[in-house]
């Protein structure tokens, strides 16, 4: 079927699926090369052992666990934007939800692979299922990440069905796949009702699952007796950090694809300004938790805790620690509270700083506590090796590649929600306003 005959109002959103430029292929090839190199380094690690990394005693967890926590943290982008904004009926979420949900799906896959990469004997992974111990936080982790991945994939798929139906009706290359995946969706009243109901149930369900995922990951650390880890604040701290890094990653992805696919009409400045405000709020929340954590540690002045504390504040890790504070607190506050600096360029710069800062935060949490054991051993030193760095780069490349692959099959902006917003939202919102405002007095009907 000839798809060039269709000129939809939202043709820009359909275009990436049908047209692929040379630049796309070149970029994808470069990313694939990085991923392949990462796989090669991992195979090397399988042959020679974990000794190819920089880990040692006492620092027996390094880049892999840092990246694991980091990537799973980014997955919270999907929940916040999609579920919470849908729940609060915020209309500006419409062009954003699809990208947020896709980030969650891809990043959970990549993040979930990292503990396996970190294992000394991945060939024995089935031991977890045959003879595992549910008392161990690692198993809670396995369960909650699987549940979250399933829930968020379904939550990505359900609002995708009407868009798949639109693509199916246009014909084209993947017509058969779209037909299968759209499950006979035709936009009838009954179908819309079923879909809406299921999305509503899921959006409520996905929030506690998502909160539990990062809480459980934080409990991997806080359930131990290590100084600097054994803190009750870790659960909420990690969730806040995850949402924070998630929004930043979402902003970066949005700006990148807005440029690449010319989505300026759909992802307007106002969306970024709102997301920037959210980012600022999360930055302040993150700072509050961090400050509370370190003040409590410092005031208590327990020797093993102080050893870790001083290592972070003035010792070998002080560079990373203060860089983290600059990236996570100073830059966002400066750029996002100032109207002149809160441009798209400024927001992009802030988001990149936040993503870097949050990765550093995971580094700061994990390595200093391991390098400064309770007994007076000499302080450990951890230098990442080429294997670990290349696997981190490969994971990032795989993430971008996955996103690009998705954008070639399905629209990155939820087309039916944009259409719904255009056609129905004005009426829905003004009806809601009528509900809130007092019935006496004249509510201006110019809105309708």
């Amino acid at each position: 079927m000839n798809n060039q005959n269709f000129v939809d109002e939202d043709e820009t959103l359909f275009r990436p699926i049908y047209h692929t430029g040379k630049g796309f292929y070149a970029f994808a090839a470069a990313l694939a090369a990085i991923v392949l190199f990462g796989i090669f380094m991992y195979i090397r690690q399988l042959i020679f052992g974990l000794g190819v990394t920089g880990m040692n005693e006492p620092v027996s967890w390094g880049f892999y666990i840092i990246s694991f926590v980091f990537f799973i943290g980014i997955s919270h982008a999907g929940t916040l934007i999609s579920a919470i904004l849908r729940l609060s009926k915020a209309e500006w979420r419409r062009p954003i939800t699809r990208m947020a949900e896709v980030i969650t799906g891809i990043v959970l896959l990549i993040g979930g692979l990292h503990p396996i990469i970190d294992l000394g004997r991945p060939d024995r992974i089935l031991h977890i299922f045959e003879r595992g111990r549910l008392q161990s936080p690692l198993l809670w982790d396995v369960t909650s990440i699987t549940a979250y991945f399933t829930a968020s994939t379904i939550y990505l798929y359900l609002p995708l069905i009407p868009d798949i139906a639109l693509l199916r009706d246009r014909g084209g290359r993947f017509h058969k796949i779209y037909e299968i995946l759209s499950w006979g969706y035709e936009g009838t009243e009954k179908q819309k009702h079923v879909l809406e109901r299921a999305i509503n149930i899921l959006m409520v369900m996905v929030i506690p699952i998502a909160v539990s995922v990062h809480t459980v990951i934080s409990w991997i650390f806080s359930m131990t007796l290590q100084p600097g880890w054994h803190s009750t604040i870790f659960g909420p701290y990690f969730v806040v950090g995850a949402i924070y890094s998630g929004i930043a990653a979402l902003i970066i992805v949005m700006i990148a694809f807005r440029k690449a696919y010319h989505l300026q009409d759909y992802l307007k400045e106002i969306h970024f300004r709102y997301l920037g405000t959210l980012l600022l709020v999360m930055s302040l929340l993150w700072f509050y938790f961090t400050f509370a954590e370190y003040l409590t540690t410092f005031y208590g002045h327990e020797p093993p805790e102080m050893r870790v504390f001083l290592y972070k504040f003035v010792g070998n890790y002080s560079f990373f620690f203060w860089l983290m504070v600059v990236c996570n607190f100073i830059i966002p506050v400066v750029f996002l509270s100032n109207k002149k600096l809160k441009t798209i360029g400024g927001i992009l710069f802030t988001s990149i700083a936040v993503v870097l800062g949050m990765w550093l935060e995971r580094l700061i949490i994990i390595v200093p506590s391991m390098a400064n054991p309770r007994l007076p051993y000499p302080t450990g030193i951890y230098v990442p090796s080429l294997t670990e760095i290349s696997l981190l780069l490969a994971a990032t490349a795989a993430f971008v590649l996955g996103f690009m692959g998705f954008s070639k099959l399905f629209p990155l902006v939820s087309i039916w929600e944009i259409k719904e917003g255009r056609e129905q939202s004005v009426k829905t919102v003004s009806e809601r306003l009528h509900e809130y405002l007092p019935s006496k007095g004249h509510i201006r009907n110019e809105i309708v």
Partner: protein
């Protein structure tokens, strides 16, 4: 007979049922896994209460998710316009 089913439900019914069954397999798989782990914890006398608590949570979540998706996909089928050759 296959073509009759296909003409009633739509030509992609087979593949779609297989795809949906993946989710049911996941839910059953997780159930069996978690029950197995509870059994192991009883054998070695190792904090059975924690095993049971986490298993119950996990099993419930997965079956609810499978249920939601089935509800949607069955609902979508039922809500189709009556067309004989689609």
């Amino acid at each position: 007979m296959l073509s009759k089913i296909k003409s009633i439900f739509g030509k992609n019914i087979l593949i779609q049922t297989v795809l949906l069954s993946f989710l049911w397999m996941l839910a059953s798989g997780m159930t069996l896994l978690l029950i197995n782990l509870v059994q192991v914890s009883y054998e070695v006398n190792d904090h059975q209460s924690a095993s049971i608590a986490i298993s119950i949570l996990g099993i419930i979540v997965f079956w609810i998710l499978a249920g939601i998706l089935t509800y949607v996909l069955v609902g979508l089928y039922k809500g189709r316009k009556k067309e004989s050759n689609k």
